[in-house]
């Protein structure tokens, strides 16, 4: 019995005491503002004969919008990326993309319709004068229904390719937007 008391004194009590000392209620964690986030892709189509057409794809909306273009026409296409996760503080990511032109590449792929595109007059260029395709000129052909896949590629393995796979790298944006070419 004496031994038990001794035991109690020597380690049970310190054990309990230590446990109480170190258990205090944790502080409330801060909410994290996610960086590097892109929530919205915005395409602006400009042609000499029509009003500007703006099509948006956003993680916060239903994304029912589609692009309507006229056959055998030329369009200036301007792409913009935004972080709209905080409606009170909308960030324009496009500037970052242009600043880090060496690390980025915008690219489009089409299915169902054939629309070749080239760099636009005001396109951003990287150090080696490669177009980033922020600003492009699309030339529509025959009428049809299709989809355009819009890519933002981070650290592509090459800056000169004609397919998405050819660029390599990591995909930051890959969204599909329905596209109609009308008469």
């Amino acid at each position: 019995m004496k031994q038990f008391k001794f035991l109690q004194k020597t380690f049970l009590l310190p054990l309990l005491a230590a446990t109480f000392l170190i258990s205090c209620s944790p502080e409330e964690p801060e909410a994290i503002l996610e960086q590097e986030l892109i929530t919205t892709v915005e395409l602006t189509f400009t042609s000499s004969s029509e009003e500007d057409q703006i099509v948006r794809w956003s993680t916060t909306s239903a994304n029912s919008e589609s692009i309507t273009l006229k056959a055998n026409s030329e369009y200036q296409v301007e792409i913009a990326f935004y972080d709209e996760s905080d409606p009170a503080d909308i960030e324009d990511i496009t500037e970052e993309v242009i600043e880090e032109a060496d690390e980025h590449q915008v690219f489009y792929e089409f299915s169902g319709v054939t629309i070749p595109f080239v760099q636009g007059g005001s396109d951003a260029l990287d150090e080696d004068q490669n177009p980033v395709f922020i600003n492009t000129v699309w030339s529509t052909g025959e009428i049809g229904n299709g989809v355009v896949s819009v890519y933002l590629i981070h650290e592509p393995t090459t800056k000169a390719s004609t397919t998405r796979d050819g660029f390599g790298g990591e995909t930051d944006v890959a969204v599909d937007i329905p596209l109609v070419v009308i008469e």
Binding site: T10, P26, P29, E36, E109, S111, V147, E170
Partner: protein
């Protein structure tokens, strides 16, 4: 004096031989081996005396003793050693007998491991298959714990690249495998498949593997098994010794240096210091460079203590720090990137060789402070108190856009306080009982400055446990042990969910009591969980005749889900999967039966160990549909529970052709099935076997060993492939993303050549040449997460210099 004694022996032997000539019966021999109870190392200089006679012998450096020309009849053997408790043993000698002993070093009581590895620990140290000795630790000095353990049957390595490796026992890893260093469970972020244990193998002298988790002292929640690392033994006399090991590797153009120094005094004080530094650049596969696979590591440890046999104390500090590069090509943005990586033979990014480590990479720092005090009330009773504080900080760096790659994407700090108090009662070396209490407080802090959603939330985990273990070993031919443990685990968590995730999982209804506050699109919740876990274990082992031995043990363990299984929430960049924990998980209950049959002596020695385990509520991560993001559709994986059956066989055989040539075969087979879904479990080691031949020159100056590894293809795997539509030649096509198919079987050969320089008997210096993957075989391993992106490491030539002083 000694001479007189020896003369007396000779005289008695002479007298005996006269009797023998007359009686013709006194021709029996009694021999055997005396080893350390803890690690099976031979004990030199133990004195064995046959009571009632003047016959005595001493063990040689291999721990072997031998009496000859004994008459039949009952003998009482008295065994003593200056550093050990004396023991006596009655034996009725009727034929030539092998009798082995295990002694407990007094000095060893500091790192006392009163666990008996039923399955493997033979009566005569046959258990060497289940442990790594000093020489094997030296062999793997520049590698990881997991690489070293892989040489044991039944242990595999779950890898992410080459440097991130975690041990897998019987198909289980992570929270199902415990790592105990210096008598304390390692507390790091062990849940992750890509988190290697933060431990330096070089700081330890002995590594023991207990497959049955019978070590309830360290926890009742480890159905896979437990890895026990013990520090170097210290001798209770004035001494100073040390060892330095240097390694240089061609592949990776790097090397490691480890050095330790131990000093002890006759009044019981001892000091021990150790450091390790490692540096490797990019490794090479047979055909290409594996860009960004470099490693940096720097570890120190320090120990100070005093052992006065009846009481003693020790203070321990260790710091482990590493930085590991992750194959650059394995960092992908979405499924399309993954598909592209899967469709090519070699990594999509190969850059010139560098020692530099860039993102993606991991950085870990693990610090450990450990204080021990023990006291002996009496010859039979001892108590010990351990306090331990561990801080684990873990940072993971990704390729980032818009912000610097130098800001980690994961930044976790895990602090653990643990107290362990126990009382050990021992009677005549036959009965041992131990009772202990364990309290643990763990705090995880997830730094919000990452700018990335917390993968693991802030939480506090408290655990109170109590255990009772015991063993009864009336003779060398029978052993029984048992144990019980009860743990109360409490989780207190603070986590943000996105409101859509919280609601889509139905948590807003089931767990509305946890809701604290909604902030914009996020909701702060405060989940609290309690688990009561019970564990029990019992086992017996006995001899079947002279050469055979068998054992049987049963283990019930209960494990509460870990932080990752409950709360994980985020994107995994190496497989483009979104991983979610589940708040509805319950504790995992495992029933495991282990058998072992061994042949313990003769030219052929070996062990066959079948095991069966049924796990209810087995927690695993499985696919749960797709989630649309701005980067396209991502597969969502969520933790869930099922009932699982795991069984398998591990075997090890050794054949001595002669004193010079030894052959060794290891093999392991594991079967694992998800019973509820009737599917094989993922990431289960395929059948694997290792064969080796070792030749030692007659004077043991040279040693040559050739090792062949064969790993079959895992044909039992769940099909988790999914379809993905992508554009090809302007047409949208469906492509199957094959993330399930295991790689083909492979074979790789290693060659080792060891030379002792100087006096062979007390070799101070040795050089070892190692050639790994001799044939430069191109292969991929099912248990390596990088198998989707690149081949395994190609041929490596390594030189190792060991110098002891």
């Amino acid at each position: 004096m000694r001479l007189i004694v020896l003369r007396t022996i000779y005289f008695f032997l002479f007298i005996q031989s006269i009797f023998w000539l007359g009686a013709q019966e006194c021709d029996l021999s009694l021999k055997g081996r005396v080893t350390d109870l803890h690690d099976g190392t031979p004990i030199f200089g133990a004195l064995l005396k046959i009571e009632g006679t003047d016959l005595f012998v001493q063990t040689n450096e291999n721990g072997i003793y031998s009496f000859g020309n004994l008459c039949p009849g009952e003998k009482i053997l008295f065994l003593s050693h200056p550093e050990c408790n004396p023991i006596s043993k009655k034996h009725n000698l009727i034929s030539n007998t092998d009798l082995n002993f295990e002694l407990e070093h007094h000095i060893n009581e500091l790192e006392e491991i009163v666990i008996s590895d039923n399955q493997l620990k033979g009566l005569n140290g046959n258990a060497k298959e289940s442990r790594l000795n000093t020489d094997q630790i030296i062999l793997y000095s520049s590698q990881s714990l997991s690489d070293a353990l892989k040489s044991l049957a039944g242990v595999s390595s779950l890898k992410t690249g080459n440097a991130i490796a975690k041990p897998m026992i019987h198909g289980m890893y992570g929270s199902r495998v415990g790592i105990v260093a210096n008598g304390i469970r390692l507390q790091d972020q062990e849940w992750g498949a890509d988190h290697a244990p933060n431990i330096d193998l070089n700081a330890f002298q002995n590594v023991q593997l207990i497959k049955g988790a019978s070590a309830l002292k360290y926890g009742g929640d480890i159905p896979g098994g437990i890895i026990v690392l013990s520090p170097p033994k210290l001798i209770l006399k004035d001494s100073l010794f040390g060892q330095t090991i240097m390694n240089a590797s061609l592949n990776g153009r790097g090397g490691s240096l480890t050095s330790k120094l131990m000093k002890s005094t006759s009044n019981g004080y001892y000091v021990n210091g150790q450091l390790t530094a490692k540096r490797f650049g990019d490794l090479s596969a047979p055909d290409y460079l594996l860009s960004n696979t470099g490693v940096k590591e720097f570890n120190v440890s320090f120990k100070l203590g005093r052992n006065k046999i009846s009481k003693g104390w020790e203070l321990n500090y260790s710091r482990f720090q590493n930085e590991i590069g992750i194959l650059r090509a394995a960092h992908i943005g979405n499924i399309q990137d993954l598909v592209r990586a899967l469709e090519v033979d070699k990594p999509l990014r190969i850059e010139p060789f560098t020692h530099q480590i860039n993102a993606p990479k991991q950085q870990g720092i693990h610090q450990n402070i450990h204080v021990i005090y023990f006291n002996k009330f009496s010859k039979d009773l001892k108590w010990q108190l351990d306090y331990n504080y561990q801080v684990n900080s873990r940072k993971e760096f990704d390729i980032r856009r818009g912000i610097s790659d130098d800001i980690p994407a994961i930044d976790l700090k895990l602090q653990t306080h643990s107290m362990l108090g126990n009382i050990i009662w021992r009677k005549d070396f036959n009965w041992t009982q131990e009772w202990g209490v364990n309290a643990l407080l763990q705090d995880n802090f997830s730094n919000p400055n990452t700018g990335v959603k917390r993968l693991i939330p802030d939480h506090v985990k408290t655990q109170f446990g109590s255990y009772w273990v015991g063993s009864y070993k009336p003779s060398n031919s029978f052993h029984w042990d048992w144990g019980l443990r009860l743990d109360q685990v409490n989780w207190e968590v603070q986590k943000y969910y996105t409101v859509t995730d919280w609601e889509s999982r139905g948590y807003d209804e089931v767990f509305s009591q946890f809701e604290v506050e909604q902030r914009g699109t996020q909701i702060l919740v405060n989940p609290q969980f309690d688990f009561l876990n019970f564990a029990a274990q019992t086992g017996i082992s006995f001899e079947l005749g002279k050469q055979f031995e068998t054992s049987l043990s049963f283990i019930l363990s209960q494990r509460s889900p870990n932080a990752s299984e409950l709360f994980s929430d985020g994107l995994h960049h190496s497989l483009a999967t979104i991983e979610f924990g589940s708040l509805t998980l319950e504790k995992e209950v495992s029933n495991k039966l282990l058998l072992s049959f061994s042949k313990t002596s003769g030219k052929l020695k070996g062990v066959i160990e079948p095991y069966f385990s049924k796990i209810n509520n087995y927690i695993f991560i499985g696919p749960k549909g797709l989630q649309q993001t701005i980067r396209g559709a991502f597969p969502v994986w969520q933790y869930e529970a099922t009932d699982a059956l795991l069984w398998g066989v591990d075997t090890t055989f050794e054949y001595d052709f002669s004193n010079q040539l030894t052959a060794n075969v290891n093999a392991a087979f594991t079967y694992a099935q998800d019973l509820n879904n009737d599917l094989p479990l993922i990431n289960i080691p395929p059948f694997n076997t290792t064969q080796s031949f070792k030749y030692r020159s007659p004077k043991k100056r040279y040693e040559v060993e050739i090792v062949n590894h064969f790993v079959s293809r895992q044909n039992r795997f769940p099909d988790l492939n999914f379809n993905f539509s992508s554009l090809q030649e302007n047409v949208l096509i469906q492509r199957e993303v094959d993330i399930s198919s295991p790689p083909n079987a492979y074979q790789a050969v290693d060659l080792f050549f060891l030379i002792h320089i100087g006096d062979v008997k007390e070799s101070k210096t040795s050089i070892r040449f190692m050639l790994n993957n001799l044939t430069n075989t191109r292969y991929r391993d099912y248990l390596n997460r990088m198998r989707y992106y690149a081949d395994e490491v190609g041929r490596n030539f390594q030189v190792q210099l060991v110098y002891s002083y």
